[in-house]
Subunit: 248 residues, 2 copies
DNA sequence: CGCGAGATTGACAATGATCAATTAGCGTGG
DNA sequence: CCACGCTAATTGATCATTGTCAATCTCGCG
């Protein structure tokens, strides 16, 4: 079963994630792993993998490290539109569009696999379950984007930041990247501000409020959530949107 | 060429849209039109087509009328997460997920086609270009959601509302629903407020500001944009995100 | 030790929310 | 035809949240 990496291998996060989202037949998992191993790459922190307006001709699957999608207005206001966490795919199918509407930048050193469009399409054609799995991933991503819209439109600063922390924690869980009640949070407060639509100053004060209320500890790029239920309540977090996989 | 409805038929909006997004071979268009005609349905204004948490077992394609996707927090705060305009598809592939994470409600009387999952999958399997076209639609929808995140996170109230108007106008253009520099805007100010993350009162004041600055006329559910470029400038609108179709 | 990035603080300004009426438009029943 | 009742739009007054500006602080690193 090494083939689908349930117990190691560079693509472990990917397979853990698919297992939670939409389990793959061994054969499909093996084919994917094969494709991944063909295209291993690395990037340092702060590198742009894709810039808004670039044409896209491959699919990238993140094996380790964090990235974020972001868009910037003419006058410099920046909004982070999503984080991309280990095991996630940058842009399945995005090659169907002419260019990308946003940029993708690494927050940490990142290991990823690049699969060329032709190779990816061939893989999808040959492995139906794999095609469905990537489709599911796109749909889940969609659901996350919608929840971000709610977050920005209708939650207070306090709720927003709390919600983001809950979401990240729950997204890291299936890939095995939480450790007890802690997880890594390798981004600056500026990034958190840009993800929550706040100014840096206010993001900072909000984080301090969260600390003061005993809901989180955030230190040395590590987030610790003492009482996840309490944090979720504070965030008006509704669990549904991340658990959308079809039982069978 | 009646088959793909370029010049009439109930599904005209659908085919106009696909033509702009990703043109279909006649055969595929005919197959789609056939499926649409099999499943024609109507709904009155203010009806919920799908409610958050419902399982989804079909795809709905809107032939005429407006709907919106929305999510509501426990305490009643509501956020409209997108509008669904004529020619657009409610949830291609959504049946892959267990349940929907949001609700879809009609804003006006709506005519739509419902295609059952099995039928839809059969259609996709038989018509590759059709499958790609629906995929493109999902990706475009994704891009719109991201732009909404920027809108809510980084634009002022004035810019937000202006941006929403620009977007709606540009989305109605390919389906032939703009008339000179006017289009229908069949939603209440409460809906606009919920789409832009503002209070109704402030949404109202913002609309009045837009009127006072001569950028728009909004009366009797009709939006008129005197100078679209000026409105786009005021909105910090960047054109890229709606023009993502691949030239070839 | 000095530098630079990131975090933090204080003072103040501004955007947008809330509360509470009031007005306008429209369809219905008498 | 007109009063009533409803929904949507509008207004005024006030309050709260969040942004801006300008320092200062902390800490890892050469």
């Amino acid at each position: 079963m090494r083939a689908h990496g349930t117990e190691g291998g560079v693509a472990q996060a990917v397979f853990r994630r698919f297992n939670a989202l939409r389990p793959l037949p061994d054969e499909d998992a093996a084919a994917l792993e094969h494709a991944i191993l063909e295209g291993l790459l690395r990037a340092g922190p702060g590198e742009d993998l894709i810039t808004e307006g670039d044409p896209v001709d491959s699919v990238r699957i993140v094996l380790s490290g964090w990235l974020f999608r972001h868009k910037t207005l003419e006058d410099g206001r920046r909004q982070i539109v999503n984080f991309i966490l280990p095991g996630e795919t940058c842009d399945a199918h995005a090659y169907l569009l002419s260019t990308l509407d946003h940029s993708i930048t690494t927050a940490t050193p990142v290991a990823y696999a690049e699969i060329k469009r032709a190779r990816f399409e061939q893989l999808m054609a040959a492995h139906h379950a794999l095609a469905e799995a990537f489709m599911c991933e796109t749909l889940l991503n969609n659901a996350i984007q919608r929840e971000w819209i709610v977050n920005l439109g209708r939650r207070s600063a306090f709720e927003r930041v709390a919600h983001l922390f809950c979401e990240i924690f729950e997204r890291l869980r299936p890939v095995g990247l939480i450790d007890g009640n802690s997880c890594s949070l390798p981004v600056t407060q500026t990034d958190l501000a840009d993800a929550t639509g706040l100014s840096v100053v206010h993001a900072n004060r909000t984080i301090q409020e969260l600390r003061a209320s005993g809901l989180i500890v955030l230190k040395d790029r590590t987030l610790t959530i003492g009482d996840l239920e309490a944090l979720k309540n504070a965030a008006m977090y509704s669990p549904g949107y991340l658990r959308l996989y079809r039982a069978k």
